[in-house]
């Protein structure tokens, strides 16, 4: 069975510091991978998605970047955090092959920028 991991679970960082959030998927190959940010208790905003190693698409201009160095690894980064980067970050995966729209989510990372 497939599993998705995110770490860290929680993070408190000062403004201007760098960021690295990691997401890994097990039990599948060549997944589509997604990074979302969720405002408190509300819907999800898609930040980045990737259909393969080194392939990153950005949905919104922002202070963040994403990378996919390995097939099942997706990293969200920032060189200098802003207060507005605080939020709940979710990684998700979807089978890359076959017709299904369903995405499966990781447990999330709560980021607080002070």
């Amino acid at each position: 069975s497939q599993t998705i991991h995110q770490w860290p679970a929680t993070l408190v960082q000062p403004v201007g510091s760098p960021l690295s959030l990691e997401c890994t998927v097990e039990g599948t190959s060549n997944p589509n991978l997604y990074w979302y940010r969720q405002a408190a208790g509300r819907g999800l905003q898609l930040l980045f998605y990737s259909v393969g190693i080194g392939q990153i698409s950005s949905e919104v201009p922002q202070n963040l970047s994403a990378s996919r160095p390995q097939d099942r690894q997706f990293i969200l980064s920032s060189k200098k955090l802003l207060l507005s980067d605080s939020g709940f970050y979710l990684c998700a995966w979807k089978p890359g092959a076959g017709y299904t729209d369903t995405q499966y989510f990781g447990p999330g990372t709560r980021l607080t920028v002070l």
Partner: protein, 113 residues
């Protein structure tokens, strides 16, 4: 413009009551998913509906996809405190790219014992 409108945004009911949550759009979707999310956790998939008019049941939860594939509803019978959470609908539009889902803003349900 919010492509998927969920209503109501908030719902507080007593244990044992029935409720319906709606997810509406003017766009056609190839499929639609319902998720439930608890505070501090990732959304968990409840169901995927793909055929217009489709009805799926998951214990006390009944999901329906509209005939025109533009809307969906979630009905909960005899709600329990364990049903408390944020219910999100999400869909992929026809012609959408890379399986990207559009999410509604969610319905926050609170079931009081």
């Amino acid at each position: 413009t919010q492509l998927l409108e969920q209503s109501p945004q908030f719902l507080s009911i007593q244990e044992g009551e029935n409720l319906t949550v709606y997810c509406n759009s003017s766009s056609v979707f190839s499929s639609l998913q319902w998720y439930r999310q608890e505070p501090g956790e990732g959304p968990v998939l409840l169901v995927t509906v793909v055929t217009g008019g489709e009805v799926k049941k998951l214990k006390r939860l009944t999901f329906q996809f509209g005939d025109a594939r533009k809307d969906s509803s979630l009905h909960i019978t005899a709600a329990q405190p364990g049903d408390t959470g944020l219910y999100l609908c999400a869909g992929e539009r026809y012609g959408g790219s890379q399986g990207n889902l559009i999410f509604g803003k969610g319905t926050k349900l609170s079931v009081k014992p």
